[in-house]
């Protein structure tokens, strides 16, 4: 300040005296000095970061192999913070050169983040971009063993003091013992330390992943075992009689369960919340009570379910399923999504021209399909007459949305169809009437995904507005809003017991939500890019998630841990499906492949050494089925374990 005052005084003095030349010379001198200073200063700062980082980098790369891995983990946060510091201080040019020089090192692990951060070009962008803001405000947590931490400290203090400021952004968690050798992916991926703590905290919560009590499957099993017994006893009863028996017992049970549920219904109406029922710890799969009241199944539907269960093909690593592929032709890149009803008789597609089209495959499909005659006759006939009324279209055209349709989903008995669109709405259609029944408004941004619950009546949606919502078909307002994801919620899936939903998001996490409380019950960290597809095993214990890069990760819902991820595909995994017994996982991808994975062997391994930490087992690839340039949009196992797949033939390739 003083200097400036003096200079000003001198200048005014000179001006007064009329010494113009001197004044100019002085001014010139001054400006040169100041610019020099600023220049050299900028050069200094930038160089300091540059040198410091490259020194740290070469040191880390040259360190002993046993510590190398841990030390390399430190590099990424340091890199990011160096870059952001440079930007924050306004050295855009230098920041960019710095970024490009060292970018390659981190591309394998953090490509998506790098792509986002690359765009940051001014301090204001740092404030604006969420990823940058969060990572600057929060400290990264890195786990190091004592000796590597010591080494790092020593190095920083001796050779690389410049980096100290950056290193302080990292929260080191020093653990005694040996350095870890394999990268613990879930830890390395996230920049924000807080989310890991959060995940750990959340994943402590109790989770009732068991199947519903008194489900059809359970009754079926019982009935089957009963019938087995009778057969063993030597009463050679024909099957029809058997079925009759089952039906009778069914009817009784249904009556009782119906009254039970009615009672419960009232309770729900009164309190709005039911106390969580204690889980009955069965020996194989624990059973839980439903927290949602579902609709009653009509008896004929139950019967058809029984039939399907009885005729289900047993699948395992040796007996692979048959795959029936529905190819959409002439879509001109317009097909955004597809859905297949449980028996494969109805196929629906959502198009970017806002339309939804539904095909009745029984009508146009070839005769002699075993799977078609599965109790959908009523709806088919309805469709028939209506379709013939309209122009001779082979499909029913459902118009109503005003933006690209991003997902379609059939209700469990294929009487309803749900579609979500970029016009922020979800629409419910009747497949019998071919008409729109309800339009659900509530989301403020495009709705990426909508899924019917396994019992029908309820559905869940995922949206660009970062929320997932749970609705019932009879109310136009959502029942629950699940907020917590840091970016778009891209996909949603129901847990088989309907008490939970899982959501996958662009923030690279998967969350499991308790439908009753609307709270996040599990947080799964491990994906490196946006999560596109989810599936939960029929026993409710495991979940598979697929992402944009082609990675598939299996998760144990109860512990929140993952089986080590696999690069299942070369491109986006659009869809995943478990077979009915949960022995196989099918995945469909943009690389035009359907792959079948062996779940049982890998999961057995997981179950046996549950106590040990560290995921070791992997999914085993059983079969890769390539299509003829048709990306696979949708997969579904029928109740008889026939696998349906759908996709649009991509022209040109």
């Amino acid at each position: 300040m003083e200097d400036e005052d003096i200079e000003k005084a001198v200048l005014t003095y000179l001006r007064k005296k009329g010494l113009k030349l001197t004044e100019l010379a002085l001014q010139e001198d001054q400006s040169r000095v100041s610019s020099d200073a600023s220049h050299s200063r900028s050069q200094n700062v930038a160089d300091r970061y540059f040198d410091g980082y490259s020194r740290l980098r070469s040191w880390a790369y040259n360190s002993l192999d046993s510590y190398k891995h841990e030390l390399l983990c430190v590099l990424y946060p340091v890199f990011i913070h160096c870059f952001m510091d440079l930007v924050a201080q306004g050295y855009m040019q230098e920041a960019r050169t710095f970024f490009h020089t060292f970018r390659e090192d981190h591309e394998i692990m953090h490509l998506r983040d790098l792509q986002k951060l690359e765009g940051i070009l001014s301090p204001s962008h740092l404030e604006e971009m969420e990823l940058a803001r969060i990572s600057r405000q929060n400290k990264v947590k890195i786990r190091l063993c004592q000796s590597s931490y010591g080494l790092l400290q020593q190095f920083i203090h001796k050779k690389c003091l410049d980096m100290l400021g950056v290193i302080n952004q990292i929260n080191f968690e020093v653990t005694p013992g040996q350095p870890t050798s394999i990268s613990d992916d879930s830890e390395a991926v996230v920049l924000v330390g807080a989310s890991q703590d959060l995940a750990r905290e959340i994943n402590q919560k109790e989770l009732h992943w068991g199947l519903l009590e008194d489900s059809v499957e359970e009754r079926m099993e019982k009935a089957l075992s009963d019938s087995d017994k009778t057969e063993v006893e030597g009463n050679k009863e024909g099957y029809p009689e058997e079925i009759n028996k089952v039906k009778k017992t069914d009817g009784n049970k249904q009556g009782t369960s119906f009254s039970n549920k009615k009672k419960k219904d009232k309770a729900v109406g009164a309190t709005g919340k039911t106390t969580r029922s204690e889980t009955s710890m069965g020996s194989v799969a624990p059973r839980v009570k439903s927290e949602l009241t579902g609709p009653q199944l009509p008896p004929e539907v139950e019967l058809s379910k029984f039939e399907d269960l009885r005729n289900r093909a047993q699948l395992n690593s040796l007996a692979l399923p048959s795959v029936s592929f529905y190819t959409f032709l002439h879509t001109r890149n317009g097909l955004n999504c597809s859905a297949i009803s449980h028996d494969g008789s109805l196929v629906a597609g959502g198009f970017s021209d806002s339309s939804v089209k539904a095909w009745d495959m029984a009508k146009i499909g070839q005769p002699g399909r075993a799977s078609n005659s599965q109790g959908e006759n009523g709806s088919m006939q309805g469709m028939h007459s209506l379709a013939s009324d309209e122009a001779k279209r082979p499909y029913s055209l459902l118009q109503g949305h005003s933006g690209p349709v991003y997902s379609v989903s059939f209700s469990p008995f294929a009487d309803f169809l749900l579609s979500s669109s970029s016009d922020n709405t979800i629409r419910l259609w009747s497949t019998r009437l071919n008409a729109n029944l309800v339009c659900y408004k509530g989301h403020n941004f495009p709705v990426w995904d909508a899924q019917f619950s396994p019992v029908g009546h309820y559905f869940a949606t995922a949206s660009h507005d970062r929320t997932a919502r749970v609705w019932s078909i009879e109310r136009i307002q959502p029942l629950r809003v699940m907020a917590g994801h840091l970016s778009d919620v891209d996909c949603v899936q129901w847990h088989p017991n309907c008490n939970y939903i899982v959501t996958g998001s662009s923030d690279k996490t998967v969350r499991l939500w308790d439908v009753q409380s609307g709270e996040c019950a599990r947080l799964f960290i491990g994906h490196r890019s946006m999560v596109l597809s989810l599936a939960i095993s029929p026993d409710g214990r495991f979940m598979a998630s697929g992402d944009e890069d082609g990675t598939i990760i299996m998760w144990d819902l109860s512990t929140g841990r993952s089986v080590s991820p696999i690069m299942g595909h070369n491109s986006c995994v659009w869809t995943l499906a478990f077979s009915c017994e949960g022995t196989l996982l099918a995945s469909g991808s943009a690389d035009c492949m359907v792959k079948l994975w062996d779940v049982t062997s890998s999961m057995k391994a997981l179950k046996t050494d549950e106590s040990k930490s560290g995921p070791t087992s992997r999914l085993r690839l059983l079969k890769a089925l390539p299509t003829k340039s048709t990306p696979v949009y949708n997969l579904r196992f029928s109740r008889r374990n026939l696998l349906f797949a759908a996709g649009a033939l991509s022209a040109g390739s």
Binding site: I120, S324, S506
Partner: protein, 551 residues
């Protein structure tokens, strides 16, 4: 600093009506423009993913702009990704090919066909985990095991997969029937069109044609016997056969026995084609190639395939009552089966056959020009057969052409070229007496070869001139001289003037050949004998690489 240069900002400013944007402002705006662009592109990628695509389109950008409540950009909407063209002379400059369209043209143009409506078709991607070989599935690399393939392929029509395990009723789907009819029609009516070429391609590549194979084999056999006089149809049939044979998804072995007779008919039929002027030679050649490819591919499966085939052919070859055309076909067929067949079956009979053939080739003995021409054809095919055999030997025993011999040859070259044929012959014979191996070569061949009409024969005088050099070098200077003599011979003999002389030479040649056969073990000898029999025509069968070694 930013990827967006400030000039771009200035241009954009001008386009929205700000003529003089100061450079500082442009510079300051550039980074922000880039940031916003990236943001929007990232949003657009999200939209792309939710549209289940991996290619970003203009629609995605519009949806991304919509998400931010920005008006979309008009005029770029299209279902397909935009196609950019590279600007000529620039490595990284691309532009949209956006031509000006004349309204009048558009209005006057007839309405385009209505685009096909969206449809859903089903097929079996897998049956109990195994992909059936149907056209809807991508081609499997190869048929894994024959029995497996049979099981897969037999009952496999896309419409009747369920029948797989039942006793199979062979039902052709309507598509396949149409396909078959169409191909049949093409063969019989328009075998020259481009469409037929496409059809051949499809026959060679498509999976799922298996159910048609028995029909095709029957069709071909039938049509061949019916259309022996129609060359173009015969040719088309043979090409269809070839395509079927090359299709990796067809398990054709069970039908080979039905197809072979038709091919052999085309190969050794007495008369093929309507008129004598028809180029029936070409179809014989084609059939020969086909036969050899079949033997190569299925010989190990059908152990008696080749023996039966050679028996048939050698019968045709050795029966003097058969027409020359049939002989031609038989020779072509045998030679296509490989050099060892030639060595074992043709060469030993060469001498006797030559005796038979020779009168036919002489102007004075065979007055019928057509017959004479045919005889020359046969001669040419013999040359080809022997030559390829030679080539093969040479390849197997490259050591035969030993370097030390080069020197003497070089010195003699000049002389050799200047020698007159008669002198040379004399010289060679004298030399031969001391040097048994060279003797064979010396047997001066036959200007016959040179008389051979050059339509088929590979040798032109110029190429001969260069070839002999190295060929001879492997034995002695002596040979060189003789071969050079041959050349001159050829030149003089082209007009058939020296008929009888040539005959005498040929006789001598065959004697040497016999000798060569006695010492069959010595491949080098065989070589030289072959050469001597056929003269410089053989040289074209010697690999250029070998030639260079000695030039």
């Amino acid at each position: 600093m930013s990827i967006v240069p400030k000039e771009t900002i200035e241009v954009i400013a001008q386009s929205i009506g700000i003529p003089n944007l100061s450079p500082d402002v442009a510079l300051a705006l550039a980074p922000d423009v880039e940031y916003r662009l990236r943001e929007i592109i990232q949003e657009a990628i999200k939209c792309m993913r939710h549209s289940k695509r991996t290619v970003l389109t203009a629609d995605d950008m519009d949806s991304a702009l919509n998400l931010r409540n920005i008006e979309p950009i008009y005029g770029f909407a299209s279902g397909d990704p935009l196609k950019f063209k590279r600007a000529i002379g620039h490595k990284d400059l691309f532009y949209l090919d956006d031509r000006e369209v004349d309204f009048k043209e558009v209005i006057d143009a007839p309405l385009p066909k209505a685009p096909l409506d969206t449809a859903v078709v089903t097929h079996w991607l897998a049956i109990e985990g195994v992909q059936p070989a149907i056209p809807e599935n991508p081609p499997i690399e190869a048929i894994v095991a024959p029995q497996d393939g049979k099981k897969m392929d037999h009952g496999k029509d896309d419409s009747l997969p369920v029948d797989l395990k039942l006793p199979i009723k062979h039902v052709l789907s309507r598509e396949l029937q149409l396909y078959f009819d169409k191909i049949g029609e093409l063969i019989l009516l328009r075998p020259e069109t481009a469409l037929f070429k496409e059809a051949l391609l499809s026959l060679a590549k498509d999976s799922g044609l298996h159910p048609l194979v028995p029909y095709f084999s029957y069709f071909i056999a039938d049509e061949v016997s019916r259309n022996l006089s129609n060359l173009s149809i015969l040719f088309a049939l043979m090409r269809v056969l070839k395509s079927l044979l090359s299709n990796p998804h067809i398990h054709i072995e069970p039908y080979l026995h039905q197809m072979m007779p038709s091919i052999i008919t085309c190969l050794v039929a007495k008369r093929v084609g309507e008129q004598v002027s028809d180029n029936h030679w070409a179809i014989r050649n084609f059939a020969a190639k086909l036969v050899s490819s079949i033997c190569r591919r299925y010989g190990h499966v059908y152990h008696n395939l080749q023996s039966r085939l050679t028996r048939t052919l050698i019968h045709a070859f050795l029966d003097p009552s058969k027409a020359l055309t049939q002989h031609y076909g038989a020779i072509r067929g045998l030679s296509a089966l490989g050099p060892s067949v030639v060595r074992l079956l043709i060469l030993p009979n060469l001498e006797t056959y030559m005796q038979l053939l020779d009168p036919e080739m002489q102007l004075d003995k065979q007055k019928n020009e057509l017959k004479r021409k045919e005889a020359w054809r046969v001669y040419g095919s013999l040359l080809l057969a022997a030559g390829s055999c030679l080539y093969d030997r040479l390849r197997l025993f490259p050591g035969l052409l030993s370097p030390p011999d080069i020197q003497p040859w070089k010195t003699n070259k000049k002389i050799a070229l200047t020698h007159l044929p008669n002198n040379k012959r004399k010289a060679s014979s004298t030399l031969n007496s001391h040097q048994p191996p060279t003797k064979k070569l010396a047997v001066d061949p036959t200007g016959a070869n040179s008389q051979f009409p050059s339509t088929d024969g590979p040798a032109t005088s110029s190429s001969c001139g260069s070839n002999p050099n190295h060929h001879h070098s492997h034995n002695s200077s002596n040979n060189n001289s003789s071969s050079a003599g041959n050349i001159t011979n050829t030149n003089t003999n082209i007009n058939n003037a020296t008929g009888s002389g040539a005959l005498a030479q040929r006789m001598a040649g065959s004697a040497v050949l016999r000798q060569a056969w006695k010492e069959d073990m010595d491949a080098g000898h065989l070589l030289s004998s072959l050469h001597s029999l056929f003269g410089e025509g053989v040289f074209s069968f010697i690999q250029p690489a070998d030639m260079h070694l000695f030039i």
